[in-house]
Symmetry: C3
Subunit: 153 residues, 3 copies
Amino acid sequence: MTIDDRLRDRGLVLPEPAAPLASYVPFVRAGDLLHVSGQISRDASGGVWRGTLGGDLSIEEGARAAESCALQLLSQVRAACGGDWDRLLRVVKLTGFVASAPGFVDQPKVVNGASDLFVALLDEAGRHARSAIGVSALPLGAAVEVEGVFLLR
Amino acid sequence: MTIDDRLRDRGLVLPEPAAPLASYVPFVRAGDLLHVSGQISRDASGGVWRGTLGGDLSIEEGARAAESCALQLLSQVRAACGGDWDRLLRVVKLTGFVASAPGFVDQPKVVNGASDLFVALLDEAGRHARSAIGVSALPLGAAVEVEGVFLLR
Amino acid sequence: MTIDDRLRDRGLVLPEPAAPLASYVPFVRAGDLLHVSGQISRDASGGVWRGTLGGDLSIEEGARAAESCALQLLSQVRAACGGDWDRLLRVVKLTGFVASAPGFVDQPKVVNGASDLFVALLDEAGRHARSAIGVSALPLGAAVEVEGVFLLR
């Protein structure tokens, strides 16, 4: 099964690679490492998925918001690979930032929404190093932002 | 036009590379990648540029604070290159942390102060992947902290 | 003196490499760079070292919490090296996230607890680029989280 098959089986559609919010680019390749800009959570219609964990969003909603970041990262990776998934060798590192009300400490469960998707789609190649961090505020009021480093051939 | 010409045209002076605040070094090169330590915002006299976005600082002030971080990053890169700008191939990734009051969500506009400078000075080589994050507090009360990864030859 | 000797002289014991909290792995090697997942502060019995700087923890306690993160990072590096310290060439970059009450700005003094240990154990090879960031909340209520990039042979 290809990544595209697996996405289809899960009823997921890769979004169009989002334009950056500012004077930067979605990704830069340096040697075999692809650095992808932080992707903020978005809903199915492409609007910013706003909210705060420990505030107006449940952990389950947060996890789905994180999954939306993973889909956007993957969309950028596909663009960087010219559409050829065989060039993606490994998800190296994800950093997940979670907009968190004071006292909210379940950031790992939220960022799992991103991590689980990469493993579901890529098996071993999807397993990555990770940090999960709770922060006071994210761009445009997003609930989650995830950036990534990927190994390409 | 060289980077030094462009700095001069903009009336900007690279600061002396700041000494680290602690037991670490300003940059480490590993292969062709240069990792530069987080640089906190500083005013023209070298004092810490303090404040909070959404609090006592405007977006414009925040963007200039971020620009001061970019100048310091560039000063470290110049040191790492032994003063030879030709060795700087690409700005790979910036991560901008913005001291943010609750509800402040314009971190991208603030970090643009750093991103825009790199593009103004380096054209295509200055275009980078980026994340912008709002945090509760930065070292010494700084308004902005930016770290960077650079590709050298 | 080897790293193991130095640990013993300081009365420090490397913890067992902690299992990740979620669907990710403790480290990924890409080329010569080892990315190690964020390690949260833990006490001597392995429990999460909870608290907030500028709240219920002193700077000294925070620095020891950061040191516990460094020990865990080192434990993961040892596992990645198959127990052969000679394969560890350099600590490249640390990012230290410090759970911070509003107004706490001494994150560098806290993260020094991690930085100082690497230099004490590894001399020049332990000197690294670094960022220190204050955040509102960390996984499981941890006081400190530190992630790292290491150069291996």
